[in-house]
């Protein structure tokens, strides 16, 4: 399901998505889009931010209130703070215009995969040579235990359970430091991520599992 006001971009999107979906629906305005999502209940919504008839954040919030499908945001704007607002409002991921078709397809597949396993929470997550045992709270690489601090484990668990989703700094902080007072410690989130990477990534300068979204947060790309 595509909600985008520019016809040429709609055409590009439809072509890019046709390989993964049997049916691709299109709407040119927020109002028409919301109606279509309600009546057709699509598996995924691609939502453009620059719609003529409504603010992107409002559309996102309204959809999220009753729609369970992943929402992927398309944005031509610059501002990281706006993307953070959208993700906090319930969007699952975003991609910036002009986007690469390959990247778009990869993001869409990651969201679909997560949506399909989301209903049956598993106790094991596998990525690369790693196996996470969520009940035993252990991470093994080729059978060998990798020692993580409690905060590093929680960070990795939160990211891996939400694989494919971009989590904002605030969302990650809320999940890992739940119950603690929100404060300066949030800035050390980045330091913990850096330490975690040094334990699990083969090359910290080219991370495969925990990917940085500059100015926004982090995304787990491990299982894709």
């Amino acid at each position: 399901m595509i909600i985008e006001d520019d016809p040429p971009i709609r055409r590009v999107l439809r072509h890019a998505l046709e390989s993964d979906f049997d049916r691709v629906l299109e709407a040119g305005t927020a109002a028409a889009g919301i109606d279509l999502v309600a009546s057709e209940q699509p598996a995924l919504v691609v939502l453009d931010l620059g719609l003529p008839d409504a603010e992107g954040v409002e559309v996102c919030r309204e959809l999220r209130a009753w729609c369970v499908a992943p929402i992927l945001i398309l944005s031509a704007r610059h501002s990281e703070s706006e993307k953070v607002t959208l993700l906090d409002a319930g969007a699952d991921d975003y991609i910036t215009k002009p986007f690469s078709t390959v990247e778009l397809q990869a993001r869409v597949r990651a969201l679909l995969r997560r949506a399909s396993v989301g209903n049956a929470p598993s106790l094991r997550i596998e990525f690369g040579p790693y196996v996470m045992d969520l009940a035993g709270r252990t991470l093994r690489r080729d059978g060998e235990i990798v020692h993580l601090t409690p905060i590093e484990w929680e960070l990795l668990r939160t990211l891996a359970v939400n694989a494919g989703r971009t989590l904002t700094h605030t969302q990650l902080f809320g999940a890992v430091w739940a119950g603690r007072r929100y404060g300066d410690a949030q800035q050390y989130l980045r330091t913990h991520i850096a330490n975690l990477r040094r334990k699990i990534e083969d090359d910290v300068l080219d991370p495969r599992y925990v990917v940085t979204e500059p100015g926004i947060g982090y995304r787990f790309a491990g299982t894709s």
Binding site: I9, V12, H15, A76, H78, P98, R190, A194, R198, T212
Partner: protein, 336 residues
Amino acid sequence: MVMWPVWTLALVAVTLLLLSFRADLDKAHVILVFLLVILGASAAGGRALGVVLSLVAFVIFDLVFLPPYGTLVVRNPLDWLALVAFLVTSLVAAQLLYMARAQRAAVEREMAAREGERLKDALLAAVSHDLRTPLTSIKGLAHELSQDGDERAAIIEEEADRLNRLVTDLLDAARMSAGNFPVAPQPNALDDLLGVVVRQFAGRADRNRLEVSLDRPDELVIGMFDFVQTLRIVTNLVENALKYSPVDAHVQLSGGAEGGRMVVRISDRGPGVAEHGESRALDTAYGDTRSVSAGLGLSIARGLAAAQHGSVDYEARAGGGSVFTLFLPLAEPDAP
């Protein structure tokens, strides 16, 4: 300044009026009426007028309304209390009114500035949207064509990317010249910064020309910088280095900590900038021999570095080429 004679006259008129039935008056009547005049003067004419009138009224009160009349002598010692209390009250009132005014003026100025900033942001967002929308369909359609095997389509896609980078630089420059480039330095890992640079260049045909390394791979360097803006600096410098080096030459990007600062170096084998003089090189960036976008990139890099207490230096490289060095503060080492 027209307020000064007006309020002085008002004080004189009030004094004459009160004088005409002085015998029936209590001290409190005089004090309250004088205070009203001083409050009015402070509100209309400012602090200086209020203070001067307070002092004048103080003297008049003593001369005219406290017996013995016509002298500064005060017969009843308790009258001193009234006199001093009057002076203090009027001075404090003048000062309070002045502060309230100054505060309101500051709030108004700030609101005007914020409104201007909001308008600028809205305009830049609209320009950004209008320029990127056609670029998006050009890039997307070129990708479809390239899948049909047309090699020219790949070039269209890359050129669309190039145009997009230019749009980004132009918008950045517009923002910066408008003084609208907020930086929010936070503790960030050098690993993370270089990793994102690698990823940004990963999709490009010349990605193999970029060699990235850490000076000491075992050491975790945490700098105090704004991640997004610093990423812009490094990306701009790497972009320029790749663009102006011979097509088979590599560009080295390395990072570490030296002398209490975080350091990122970009070394190329380009033509160098020595012929322009080193300081000018950073201002106008390669002047006439190189393109506008390079100059834009460098001046943006420099402005952004300065905004977060850092700097960008240039040196000629031994054996030909340039080394650009970005210095940024390290984070305080109290991180858990």
